[in-house]
C-alpha cells in the first residue's frame, strides 16, 4: 500500500472506531499511531515522537488559554452576574410579547461575553431564567428551546474556546478571530429575539405578559451589570489592543471573574473545588482530543492526503461557494451526533487546505477568518439539533416537566434562524470582516 492509500484508509477505520464509541481523542491517537507504524514500517518512530510530543502539546503556551477560559466561565457562574444580566434584560424587554424569553437571550449574550463555553452559558442562564419563564406562563418547549439556543451565544460571542482551537490549527491570529466573531454574535442574538417574536405570533398561547418597568429602574438594572462590561472590555480590548497576549487576556478574565465571585460571596472553598473539578474534567477531555488530533494530523500530513484532496478539489474547478456550502452542510450533519471541538479537530486539517486553495475574492487571512466564523456557527448549531444536541439535554435535565419532543419542536425555529444567518454571512463576507478593516 502506498502512503496515500494508508492515509485514505485511515478515514473509514477512524470513523468506525468513533461510531463504536471509542472516545474521539483516543480513536485519533490510535489511528495516528497505527498509521505512523504502517508508513514507517516500525513503531519506533511513533514511540519516539511520544517522548516529547505529549509534553509539548500540553505545555503549549497558546493552548493554555483553554483551561483559563474554562475556569473563567465557572467563576462567572458563581459571581451572581447571571441574575444581574437577566434582571437588566428583563427590565428592558420583559413587557413585550415573548419578552421574558427575549430577555433570556439578551442575558445569554451578555453572559457569553465573559464565558467561552456554550454548555456553561446554557446551564447558568437556565438556572436563572427557567423559573421566571415558568412564573410568567411561558410554554415549556419555548422556554427550554430559548435557553438551549441562547447557550450557543456563549461560544459565538467572544471569548470562545472553539475559536482558540481553530486559530491554533490554522495558525491565525486569535485576537482578529475574536473581533470577527463579534458582529455575527450580535446578529445571532437579534435573530433569536426575532425568532421568539415569530414563535409567539404563531403560537399565541405560549407566552404570558409581564408589567412594564419604569425607565429609572431600567437604567438601575442596566448599571448593575457593569462588572461584566469591565471584564469583557479588559479581556477582548486588551488582547486586540496588543496590551497583552491572548493567554494573558484569559488570565485577566479568570482573575476578574474570580474576584467578582469572591466579592459577591459566591466563591468559597466548596465552590472553588467544584470549579476546579469541572474545569479539570473539561480540560482533560479537550486536551486529550488535541493530543489525538496532533498525532493523527502528523500522520496524515506525512501521507500527503490533505494536500492531495485540496489539489483535487481545486483542479476540478468547482464553484468555491458550492464547496463551502457542502462543507458547512457536512458539519451540520456531523453536528447531529458529535461535539463541536471534536468536529473541528477532526476535520479542519482536511477542509482548511481545501478552502485556502479556493478563490473567494478575499485575502488568504480574511478567507481563513471568515471560514472560521462560519464553521463556528455551524458546529454550534450541532449543540441544538436533535437527537444529541448537548444544550438540549442540559436544559431538559433542569426542566423535567417539559417532554424533550416539545423542546425539539420549538428549537427548530432557532435552527432556522441559525441557517438564515449562515446564508447571510456567506452572501456578505464583509459583515464578518467589517471590524477588521
Amino acid at each position: 500500500m502506498s502512503n496515500l492509500e494508508i492515509g485514505i484508509w485511515s478515514f473509514p477505520v477512524l470513523l468506525l472506531m468513533i461510531f463504536l464509541r471509542v472516545p474521539i481523542g483516543l480513536a485519533m491517537f490510535a489511528a495516528g499511531f497505527a498509521g505512523l507504524w504502517l508508513v514507517n514500517g516500525s513503531a519506533a518512530i511513533a514511540l519516539a515522537r511520544m517522548k516529547t510530543e505529549t509534553f509539548t502539546t500540553f505545555s503549549n503556551y497558546s493552548l493554555s488559554i483553554v483551561p483559563m477560559f474554562l475556569l473563567m466561565g465557572y467563576f462567572a457562574t458563581l459571581g451572581g452576574m447571571s441574575q444581574a444580566l437577566f434582571k437588566a434584560a428583563a427590565a428592558w424587554l420583559g413587557h413585550r410579547k415573548g419578552g421574558v424569553a427575549m430577555a433570556a437571550i439578551g442575558a445569554c449574550a451578555g453572559f457569553g461575553a465573559i464565558c467561552g463555553s456554550s454548555l456553561a452559558t446554557a446551564a447558568t442562564m437556565g438556572r436563572v431564567a427557567l423559573p421566571e419563564l415558568k412564573a410568567y406562563g411561558y410554554a415549556g418547549g419555548l422556554s427550554t428551546a430559548t435557553l438551549a439556543a441562547g447557550g450557543t451565544l456563549g461560544i459565538l460571542i467572544p471569548p470562545s474556546v472553539v475559536l482558540v482551537i481553530y486559530a491554533i490549527l490554522t495558525e491565525q491570529n486569535i485576537a482578529k478571530l475574536f473581533l470577527a466573531a463579534f458582529i455575527p454574535g450580535i446578529i445571532a442574538a437579534i435573530g433569536y429575539i426575532i425568532t421568539i417574536r415569530i414563535y409567539v405570533a404563531i403560537n399565541p398561547g405560549s407566552a404570558g405578559t409581564r408589567e412594564r418597568v419604569a425607565y429609572g429602574d431600567r437604567f438601575r438594572a442596566l448599571f448593575a451589570v457593569w462588572p461584566v462590561l469591565v471584564v469583557f472590555i479588559a479581556v477582548v480590548g486588551g488582547i486586540y489592543g496588543g496590551i497583552f497576549t491572548p493567554t494573558e487576556g484569559a488570565a485577566v478574565g479568570a482573575f476578574g471573574t474570580g474576584l467578582i465571585a469572591l466579592l459577591n460571596g459566591g466563591l468559597n472553598r466548596k465552590t472553588l473545588v467544584a470549579s476546579f473539578m469541572s474545569t479539570g474534567r473539561s480540560t482533560a477531555m479537550i486536551f486529550f482530543i488535541v493530543l489525538g488530533a496532533a498525532f493523527y494530523n502528523g500522520f496524515l500530513a506525512l501521507t500527503q492526503v490533505p494536500q492531495e484532496i485540496s489539489n483535487y478539489v481545486v483542479s476540478q474547478g468547482f464553484s468555491p461557494t458550492l464547496v463551502l456550502v457542502l462543507i458547512l452542510v457536512f458539519y451540520l450533519i456531523l453536528g447531529c451526533f458529535m461535539d463541536s471541538l471534536s468536529m473541528i479537530l477532526l476535520t479542519i486539517p482536511i477542509f482548511y487546505p481545501v478552502i485556502s486553495g479556493l478563490d473567494f475574492g478575499l485575502s488568504p487571512e480574511h478567507t481563513a477568518i471568515w471560514f472560521g466564523i462560519l464553521v463556528l456557527i455551524v458546529v454550534e448549531v450541532g449543540l441544538i439539533t436533535p437527537p444529541v444536541g448537548m444544550n438540549l439535554f442540559i436544559i431538559n435535565a433542569m426542566e423535567r416537566s417539559t417532554p424533550i419532543t416539545q423542546t425539539y419542536a420549538a428549537v427548530m425555529y432557532f435552527v432556522a434562524s441559525d441557517l438564515l444567518r449562515v446564508a447571510l454571512l456567506i452572501a456578505f463576507p464583509s459583515i464578518t470582516l467589517f471590524l477588521l478593516s
Partner: protein
C-alpha cells in the same frame, strides 16, 4: 477501592486547579509589573516558561479525574442501539485500549525525561532544567495510567458479571 481512586483523582485535579490558579495570578501580576515598569515594578522573569511548565503539569493532573468519571467525548448514538452485553464488551475493550495508551504515554514521557536529563537542556530565561517540568508531569501521567488500569479492571468485571459498578457521570462539559 473506588473511594480511594476517586479521591486520588479529585486530589490530583485539585492540585492541578491550584497550579492553574497560581499561574493565572502570576500572569496578572506580571502584566501589572510590565505596565508599571516606570514605578519600579517589573514583570515576572520567565513568566512564559513558568506557564508552559505549570500548565503541562496541570493538564496531566486533570487526566485521572476525566478517566474515572468517563468524561471523554464520544459518540453514543450508534452503540445505544446495541444489546447491553455487546455494549459492555465494547466498553471493556475501549477502556483496555485507553489504559494501554496512557501507560505508553507515561513510559515515553519517562524516556523523554531521561533524554532531557542527559542533554542537560535548560529553559531560556530562568535556566532551570527542562527535565524538572517533565518529572512533575510524569507523576501525574503515572497516576492517570494507574487510574486507567483500574477503570479497565472495572469495565472488564462489568463485562463478565453484567453488573454496573461505576455509572457514567453526566456528559462532559466544554
Amino acid at each position: 477501592m473506588y473511594q480511594f481512586f476517586h479521591g486520588l483523582s479529585r486530589l490530583m485535579a485539585a492540585i492541578g486547579g491550584l497550579v492553574l490558579t497560581g499561574l493565572i495570578i502570576m500572569v496578572c501580576y506580571s502584566i501589572v509589573g510590565r505596565a508599571l515598569i516606570q514605578f519600579g515594578l517589573a514583570p515576572v522573569h520567565g513568566d512564559y516558561e513558568l506557564v508552559e511548565a505549570g500548565i503541562a503539569f496541570a493538564i496531566f493532573s486533570f487526566l485521572p479525574l476525566c478517566q474515572i468519571t468517563s468524561g471523554h467525548a464520544s459518540v453514543d448514538l450508534f452503540t445505544d442501539m446495541m444489546p447491553d452485553r455487546v455494549q459492555r464488551i465494547l466498553r471493556m475493550l475501549i477502556e483496555i485500549l485507553f489504559a494501554a495508551v496512557l501507560i505508553m504515554i507515561a513510559v515515553q514521557l519517562y524516556y523523554g525525561m531521561e533524554s532531557k536529563i542527559r542533554s542537560g537542556q535548560t529553559t531560556f530565561l530562568l535556566q532551570f532544567p527542562i527535565w524538572w517540568a517533565y518529572a512533575a508531569s510524569l507523576v501525574s501521567a503515572t497516576v492517570a495510567a494507574v487510574v486507567a488500569i483500574y477503570m479497565a479492571f472495572i469495565r472488564t468485571t462489568e463485562a463478565f458479571t453484567g453488573r454496573t459498578l461505576i455509572a457514567d457521570d453526566q456528559g462532559a462539559e466544554h
